[in-house]
Every structure is written in structure tokens, then in C-alpha cells.
Amino acid sequence: MRLNVDIKKKLMNFELQAAFHTEGEVLALLGASGCGKSMTLKCIAGIETPDSGIIELDGQVLFDSSRKLNLPPQQRKVGYLFQNYALFPNMTVAENIAFVTVGDRAEKKKIVAENIRRFALENLENAYPQKLSGGQQQRVAFARILASEAKILLLDEPFSALDSYLKWQLEQEMLEILERYDGAALFVSHDRDEVYRLCDRVAVMNQGHIEVISTKKELFENPQTMAGTLLTGCKNISKARLIDDHTIAVEDWGLQLHIARRVPQNLYYAGFRAHFFKLAEDEMAENTFLMEVVRVIEDSFSYLVLVRVKGTSGKTLLWDVDKELWQKITSTSVQLFLTIPADKIILMEK
């Protein structure tokens, strides 16, 4: 099941230019709010129309501006999971599913029964959507999509309006459903953790452009772009300058850092994740600096410590440190030496 997208659409503040393809995997579109990711899904589903470009699914052209071809959503066989699930409020669970199936009465009945069983909705067949919990509604929405013989799943920020406990439960259910589904799915989100847990590959979207597409491991190790670095949750970001092939100057922090890999010529920014700091054993080790603590914020399971290289007036760095370790540090050491591992520094060219 191959999806090919290459579209352009003028939006309020920028032009959406989405070009990617996906095949039999869960691909995430990761981007900040309003970056055009939901719009991309809507264009694929036929709810919105791109200004130009082409969309192909499973060898069938859904949209092609050069041939003036634009299939109505009804003929696209694209399953769109809305954030609020958009169940038909005037129909029971069974009716919701039956309504979108095709075939004679016996076939319909069979498909409904199959999907009711598949999503464990046996006791809810005659319930109306507003009586269902969020998890049950999600299951009905999935059952309905699969009953309609969709070729691909489009998941539009399914968890973004939920509190964290409910979100976790629904995510578990979604994970199970996606594992059993083994078709192609596009998952739109701004939450890096959610994306990491549910998807195989990630496309980073910024201001309507897809900047990077890579596996999730690669992306989190080397996000390549500023948007990718921010979206994968890196809190320490600064302008940086190349000094030699393996050394950079990080301006905001007033540091020079040794870099394990070769530094690109057009280096733009550098980033460093808050939990990658190491407490230095050897004060003279590479990338090791004497730090002064500017502020300590207690988080639920760690301390967020803002540090600055002693003797500089640079911006503070965020260090996410385990509670036990921090308590040990504050009770023993006088001077705080931290190491920034040379292989954990993110370099960005744009």
C-alpha cells in the first residue's frame, strides 16, 4: 500500500509544500501547531483541495492538478481518524459501523459482527456514542474505518485534547490496533514521545515544509534541522561557529566544544539534550567545564538544574538530573564539573 504525496497549497502565513511517500509503515508527521500537518492529511483525504500537485494511493491517482483530476473523498478509500472521533451521534455503535459498509444485508451483518468482535465492542452494540468512554469511542471509530475498507489510516492528533492518564490508556489501545493492522498509516502529532512510541519513521514538518524524513532513531540522534531539534525536545540550543574540523564555538554558552564527528562547513546551530550531561570524574577530561548553579527547579521525578560555565556570562544550560544523584551532589561536592560528551552534540545546518 504505497502513498505518494507531492502537493502545494497556499495557506494563511506560508505555502504548504508536502512531498513524501510511505509504504506499509506508520509514518509520523511531527510539527508544531499550525505547521500544515493536519492540512496535509485533509488534502490526502479530499476534505481540502491542494492548489497543485499529485496524490497517489496504491497505484490510483486521487488528485492530479495537471490532469484536473480530484476524486471526491467518498472514492478515495482513505480512513481518517478525527480527534473527536466524529461518530454519528444519531446511530448506535452497530449502526455507525453498518452505515459505512457496502454489500447486501447478510454481508453488512457479517462485517459489522467481525469488527465488533475485533474491537471488543460486544456489549456496546446498541449504545449511542455519547454514552461511550473515550477509549470505546476510539475503538468504534477504528472499527468504522476498517469496515469501510480504507487502504490507509490517517490519524489526526488523536490524543492532543486528553488528560495524561486517559491519553496513556488510549495510546496503549492505539498501539495494539496499529500492531494488528499492519497497513500504512500517517500519524500527525506535535508530541515527540507519542511519535517515538507509535511510529517507525518520522517526517519533520516546519512552516509547511517537510525538512527531514528519517527513522525515529536517526531523527532523535541527529535531528539535522532547528525545527527537528526543537520538536524532538532538545532544550539547549545555541548559535554555533566552526573553528576546525572537530571543534566548534558555541556563542550563547561561551564554550568551545570538541565534536566526535566531522563538523559541517555551514554549521548554524548546536544543541545538547538536558539529560546527556555527565558528572565529570576527571576535571581535565574533554568538554568538561566547571559549572555554577543558577537555579534549581524540582520536577516530578528529576531536578531541572540551570547551570552556567563558571566565569562566563553566557546563557544558562538546562541539566535534567536524577533526584538521587542531585541530592548526592549537593551533600558532597563543592565544585561541580560537568562533561558534554562529544558524540551527543547535535549540529544543525539550518
Binding site: A45, G46, I47, P72, P73, Q74, Q75, R76, K77, V78, G79, Y80, F82, Q83, N84, Y85, A86, L87, F88, P89, N90, F99, V100, V102, Y128, P129, Q130, Q137, R144, I145, S148, A150, A161
Partner: protein, 226 residues
């Protein structure tokens, strides 16, 4: 007592509401889906609600009168529209239409757009979406529109008397009968019709209130909501 005004009023109102129901809902759907000039279209359809009924009557005479193109055409088939029962129905339709249109439109616009989009992506035809999703989920608003249109059609006076006149047994409704009775100093007759109209209107409003309260207490159709 001649009860023909009651019969004519009811007949006119029922027929007018029947027409208004379909045309009003169609207009509502049409305007909701319009991409340009929505405001202008809305204003044109709503106008008969805010204009003095005499102005509406004047326009109807302009369109259907003997000197008009349409009036001439009808005369060819020996149809005299003005002062006919059909004219009374037409007047009632025109003045009650905006009420049906506005309430239906409000009801349609309250339905979560995602439900419609979902139905489309799930392969449901536009026809089925309209009859099995839009209408059932807007039924509360539509029913309110029907009742409002019916009462408006039932009480219509100004435009009716201009285009349909006040012909006893043909176009004389309760409203126009009261007018005639008062003109003829027949207070007893006027009073009887006044009582009928008041009782009728009161009953309809009561039924509507009861029904709305019942609905809100037993809110089954809450919609998925955001």
C-alpha cells in the same frame, strides 16, 4: 357561524408550511455550502421577515399582477392568480420562509463538521449524508422552524390581503375575517375569531415549550462535540 375562515386559514397554513419545509431546508443547505456571496443570499432570503408585509404584498403584485410578464403568461392559460387561494398560499410561503430557513440553517451549522467529513471519507454518499446524518441531527431545529413557520403562515395578514384579498369562502382567513368584522362593526364575530386565534396560538407555543424542555432534559443528541 360560518367556519370557512378557520378551514381556509388551516388549509393555507398547512400547504404553505409543507412548501416552506422543503424550500427552506433546501435554501439552508444551499447557503451553508455557498463559498461566495453567502451574506447577500442570506439577506435576500431573510428580507421578507423584516420588511413590512405590505411591501412583500406589493412585490408579489408586481411579480404576479396583470401587468407583469408572469401575470400575462398565466392569463394565457386563463389563470387569474391575484385574489385566488393560491395567492394566499404564496403570500404565506414568502413570509414564513425566512423562519424555516434561519432555524434550519442554525441547526445545520451546529452539527460538527468533522461528522460530515468523516461520513465522506467513509464513502457515504452526499444524499445519504443529508437524509441520514444532517436531517436527523438537526431535527430539533427543523421542527422548531416548522412550528414557527406554521404559526407565521396562520397569522399572516398584510401580504395576504394585498394579493389574495378578503373573499369570503375563498381567501378569507381568520385574520382577514377579524378585520372585516371590525370594519362592519360586528364585534361579536370579531371576538369569536380573536378567541380562536389566541387559543390556537397559545396552544402551539405551549406545545413547543413543552417539547423543547422535554428535549433538553432528555438530551440524546448531544453530538460528539469538541
Amino acid at each position: 357561524m360560518d367556519i370557512s375562515p378557520l378551514i381556509i386559514s388551516l388549509k393555507t397554513a398547512f400547504v404553505a408550511t409543507f412548501i416552506t419545509f422543503f424550500v427552506g431546508i433546501y435554501m439552508a443547505c444551499f447557503v451553508v455550502r455557498m463559498k461566495h456571496f453567502q451574506g447577500i443570499m442570506d439577506a435576500i432570503i431573510t428580507l421578507p421577515m423584516v420588511l413590512p408585509p405590505t411591501v412583500v404584498g406589493f412585490f408579489l403584485l408586481l411579480i404576479f399582477g396583470k401587468r407583469s410578464w408572469l401575470g400575462q403568461l398565466l392569463l394565457q392559460f386563463d389563470i387569474r392568480f391575484v385574489f385566488s387561494w393560491e395567492a394566499a398560499v404564496t403570500a404565506a410561503v414568502v413570509v414564513s420562509m425566512p423562519l424555516m430557513y434561519r432555524t434550519a440553517r442554525g441547526a445545520f451549522e451546529q452539527i460538527d463538521k468533522n461528522i460530515i467529513y468523516a461520513a465522506r471519507t467513509l464513502g457515504v454518499s452526499e444524499w445519504k449524508i443529508f437524509w441520514q446524518i444532517l436531517l436527523p441531527n438537526a431535527r430539533q431545529g427543523i421542527l422548531a422552524g416548522v412550528i414557527l413557520s406554521f404559526t407565521r403562515a396562520l397569522g399572516e395578514f398584510g401580504a395576504t390581503i394585498m394579493v389574495a384579498g378578503n373573499v369570503s369562502g375563498v381567501t378569507q382567513t381568520m385574520s382577514t375575517a377579524i378585520y372585516s368584522a371590525v370594519q362592519a362593526d360586528d364585534d361579536a364575530t370579531a371576538f369569536r375569531w380573536v378567541i380562536v386565534v389566541v387559543v390556537f396560538s397559545f396552544a402551539i407555543v405551549m406545545i413547543m415549550n413543552y417539547w423543547v424542555n422535554y428535549k433538553t432534559k432528555n438530551q440524546v443528541l448531544a453530538g460528539a462535540g469538541k
